[in-house]
């Protein structure tokens, strides 16, 4: 739960510093690196955090002036509905963040082990 919240809040926070989608990769990578115990927390926690954030922000933009653009982009993408766009946004966010979380976690395990050996 903490990882989900951390991922969500930190990615949101950094968006206000600089608009870039890759915060959703960089922050879970860092969170995964600092996760000591659970690979699933590192992976799915970060993934869910970003998935929830991106879905919530997508819905917020949709209902606050995004009706026309959502309808048009749904037609451009051939998906028929804005709901699919929200889901796609959320899924992409989840995939990015969870893989980054996993990579961060793996990196830590590798480096920590090497450190212990040396």
């Amino acid at each position: 739960m903490i990882t989900i919240l951390s991922s969500l809040v930190l990615v949101l926070f950094f968006q206000f510093i600089f608009f870039a989608w890759w915060w959703a990769m960089l922050i879970p990578l860092a969170l995964g690196f600092f996760e000591k115990d659970s690979v699933s927390r590192a992976t799915f926690g970060s993934g869910l955090g970003v998935a929830i954030l991106w879905a919530a922000m997508g819905v917020f933009k949709w209902v606050s002036g995004g009706e026309i653009i959502v309808e048009r982009i749904a037609a451009v993408m051939g998906v028929g509905s804005g709901v699919v766009l929200v889901l796609a946004t959320s899924v992409i966010g989840f995939v990015i963040a969870s893989l980054a979380g996993y990579a961060g976690f793996s990196l830590r395990k590798l480096l920590i082990k090497e450190y212990q050996i040396s």
Binding site: W54, K61, G66, I68, V70, T89
Partner: protein, 806 residues
């Protein structure tokens, strides 16, 4: 194992980054595009919000912008620098992607955005000399202090907007194509203006006519491609005497058969780029004041080609439509005058076959000597690929558009050069600025003297009661038929050595009939001493307009709106009864359709199935007569004008060309008319089912207004429209009236207008396509001509104050 897993995860992560951060074919970079903080989700109607105060760097004084309910900005500035700065800033705010993309298209820089698929387009565009012409023009504009200020002010305004953009506020198309705007240079404005010259003068049939003449003989061309088409009522009434001594053009060049048999017609502008305009004198109007009307017919796209705006300074108050990317107002009105444009269609592009010494293309034959050809090197940058270099040999006959494929019997290679008016420096922006300021015909015509290209029929009306029209532009002084065929670029014949003096251009003021008009038809009758070209539009639109204007009296703005929307098909009126009388051996289903055609009132309204049947019948008939004969070197060449074909059909029952050379029988007129009818009707039945509503013009054809990139979902297809080719309402499938404007001058100008789109270029905006339904229905908006911001009405307007900050 752990190392392997980690490496795999990191590589996977980097791979994912690359895939989601870059376009995959036509798929946008998904993570960038879907990211709700900066992706497409940010391009909603919140971008329509208009702030009360905007701090803008670079203004000299405060600028007040009054926005009306359609987001048309009415700009009030203290000086001309600020007014054009604000025009640049506000236009970019609404249309940045469109204006920048169009300059990439003009400059042959599309590959930089879309990659290798546009290399050939870019190469051709550069060889045409578009960039070269824009550079010449820019140099000229920079030499004029006033033009320089206007250009730079506009560019500064655009760049100020670009500087304020964030990844979130970037226009949608940049996100779709994954690139960013570059700095707006003054060259881009020059390019945009040259692009309009291309759109309106870039099509001609010299290659085709040379081929047709070689294959079918000079008599064929003379008979079927006349300089004056039947029934044409010229722009300047044919009886007008010309009271000046004409210049003597060079002797006509002898006939010449070029080596090139493949034509160069890729990426040519639409053949129906044209327009209607007219002005009616106060003698014929209800109010006693002159009325002017204009509707330019162009390719219909979203975002729209026009941007509506009012510009006000202490010296100027002007309203109309501008081209996004260019300062000032192209078509519009001020307190004293109104003006409108239609394409002149006179020939300003000639082709020459040039003989070179060898394959280095560095020396060519001219007046019996080898003359050096300069080489211009073009660098075509390709997104995701290697830069392509291209060499363009430059001759006194223009740049070599095509070379490297043919040689003469003596072994010398030949190339095809194009001499085009857009290669020359000309400052149309300055001319337009002067028109915006003009208060009478004298100032207006003085400004026109500096408007070289594209050649246009400028219609004019003034509050003092004057009306006028001038076939205006820089037109080469031609021998008869010079420019109708490809010439041998070996000597002075065919060279552009003189131009028609501006005081000898076709013009008329205050004619006795009480109106002036143009619809791209031949500007003059046979009495005019100069040959200016032959590819003018047929008589139908012009005749209909002139008949209506002659008949009407006590004219109001509403009547002029109705005339712009007029769907009467003059060609059908003339031809249909005759064609119907030729039909025989028809099936009961065909009989039913014939009966419906007999009941038709000749109005090509959206609900009319007859209009679509007639259109298809005529198309099949033209093809049946000409395509077997004009199928030369693998392509169907230019068919004769409609009116020529129509006259032949009525007057000649046994023309040899009626026969289809691909069939054993010998077809006569009746046979081909019957065959065309039956083929058309069978095809319609197959495509649309039995005769009925699905055949209605508005449904079977209608109009599609596509996005500039033809991205499905961003356009407005399937609009139920009427009109068509040869009809005053010249609406077609993807082409038509791009701005309809009617203006009544008097103590106060009263104007209405509409264009098929909206002020915003953002597909997520409420102002992207908000005017389209009204455009389809023929509804017009009142154009608020404000004299000061104080006239703004709270229920209709909002106000933004632009303040300078350092």
């Amino acid at each position: 194992m752990r190392l392997f897993k980690t490496v795999l995860a990191m590589v996977g992560l980097m791979g994912l980054f690359m895939v989601l951060n870059n376009n995959q074919g036509s798929i946008p970079p998904l993570a960038k595009f879907l990211n709700p903080f900066a992706g497409f989700w940010q391009n909603g109607t919140q971008q329509d919000d208009l702030p009360e105060v905007l701090d803008v760097k670079g203004l000299r004084d405060v600028v007040t912008v009054v926005w009306d309910e359609r987001q048309v900005p009415h700009v009030f500035a203290a000086n001309s620098y600020d007014v054009y700065f604000a025009q640049g800033y506000l236009t970019a705010r609404h249309r940045l992607w469109q204006m920048e993309f169009q300059t990439h298209v003009a400059a042959g820089r599309v590959s930089e955005i879309v990659g290798a698929k546009a290399i050939e387009y870019d190469r051709l565009q550069r060889r045409r000399g578009m960039l070269m012409g824009a550079e010449q023009t820019l140099k000229m504009m920079r030499d004029d202090p006033e033009s320089q200020i206007i250009l730079q002010a506009y560019a500064n305004g655009v760049n100020t907007w670009i500087d304020q953009l964030t990844p979130a506020t970037l226009p949608l198309e940049y996100k779709l194509l994954n690139y960013e705007p570059e700095v707006w240079s003054t060259l881009k404005t020059a390019l945009l203006l040259k692009y309009m010259v291309w759109d309106l003068t870039g099509r001609n049939s010299e290659m085709d006519l040379s081929i047709i003449r070689a294959a079918l003989g000079a008599d064929f061309v003379k008979a079927f491609y006349p300089d004056h088409t039947p029934l044409t009522d010229p722009v300047i009434p044919a009886g007008k005497p010309w009271r000046w001594d004409p210049l003597i053009p060079d002797e006509p060049a002898p006939d010449f058969e070029p080596q090139f048999v493949k034509e160069l017609r890729a990426h040519e502008p639409d053949p129906d780029n044209g327009s209607n305009n007219w002005a009616v004198s106060g003698k014929k109007t209800r109010s006693g004041s002159p009325i002017l009307a204009n509707d330019p017919h162009l390719g219909l796209k979203l975002p729209s080609i026009w941007y509506e705006i009012q510009l006000n300074t202490p010296e100027m108050n002007v309203y109309g439509v501008s081209l996004p990317g260019s300062p000032a107002i192209i078509i519009g009105f001020n307190e004293n005058i109104a003006w409108g444009l239609t394409n002149a269609a006179s020939d300003v592009m000639d082709w020459f076959e040039i003989e070179f010494k060898d394959a280095s293309y560095s020396e060519y034959l001219y007046m019996g000597e080898w003359v050096k050809a300069e080489h211009r090197i073009e660098e075509i940058v390709v997104n995701g690929g290697q830069t392509v270099m291209d060499t363009i040999p430059l001759t006194r006959f223009g740049p070599l558009v095509k070379y490297g494929e043919h040689q003469l019997e003596n072994g010398h290679p030949v190339g095809l050069a194009m001499r085009w008016i857009a290669h020359d420096a000309s400052d149309e922006m300055s001319a337009i600025h002067s028109i915006n300021l003009a208060s009478n015909s004298e100032e207006f015509f003085e400004a026109l003297d500096r408007f070289d290209a594209p050649g246009q029929n400028f219609v004019f009306a003034a509050a003092d009661g004057e009306i006028a029209i001038r076939h205006n532009g820089k037109f080469p002084l031609r021998a008869q038929d010079q420019g109708k065929f490809v010439r041998a670029g070996r000597d002075t014949t065919g060279e552009w050595r003189q131009f028609i003096p501006t005081e000898q251009l076709p013009v008329i003021s205050n004619p006795w009939r009480g109106f002036v008009s143009s619809a791209n038809q031949n500007p003059v009758g046979k009495k005019y001493p100069y040959y200016m070209g032959w590819e003018y539009d047929d008589y139908e639109r012009g005749s209909r307009i002139n008949e209506q204007l002659s008949d009407l009296d006590q004219i109001s703005l509403e009547e002029m709106q109705r005339l712009q929307m007029d769907n009467f098909n003059k060609q059908a009126e003339k031809m249909l009864p005759f064609l119907l009388a030729q039909l025989n051996d028809v099936t009961p289903e065909q009989e039913e359709i014939i009966n419906e055609l007999k009941k038709w009132d000749y109005f090509s309204d959206p609900d009319s199935p007859q209009a679509w049947v007639y259109k298809q019948w005529w198309l099949h008939l033209e093809r049946a007569i000409w395509d077997d004969d004009l199928d030369l070197f693998g392509e169907i060449r230019e068919r004769p004008p409609r009116s020529v074909t129509a006259r032949l059909l009525r007057d000649n029952s046994r023309l040899v060309y009626y026969d289809d050379i691909n069939t054993p029988e010998r077809e006569d007129r009746q046979a081909i008319i019957n065959r065309a009818f039956k083929t058309a009707v069978n095809q319609l039945m197959e495509d649309l089912g039995p005769y009925g509503e699905s055949w209605a013009l508005g449904q079977a054809r209608g109009t599609d207004i596509n996005h500039l990139l033809s991205v499905k979902g961003l356009g407005r297809p399937g609009l139920r429209t009427g009109g068509g080719v040869g009809i005053v309402n010249a609406t077609k499938k993807t082409h038509g009236p791009s701005w309809r404007m009617v203006v009544e001058l008097g103590d106060e100008p009263r104007a209405r207008g509409v264009y098929p789109g909206g002020q915003s270029g953002n597909p997520g905006s409420a102002f992207y396509d908000n005017a389209i339904n009204d455009w389809v229905s023929g509804n017009y908006y009142d154009l608020y001509f404000l004299k000061s911001p104080a006239e703004a009405q709270p229920q209709k307007h909002s106000v933004t104050v632009l303040r300078n900050y350092q």
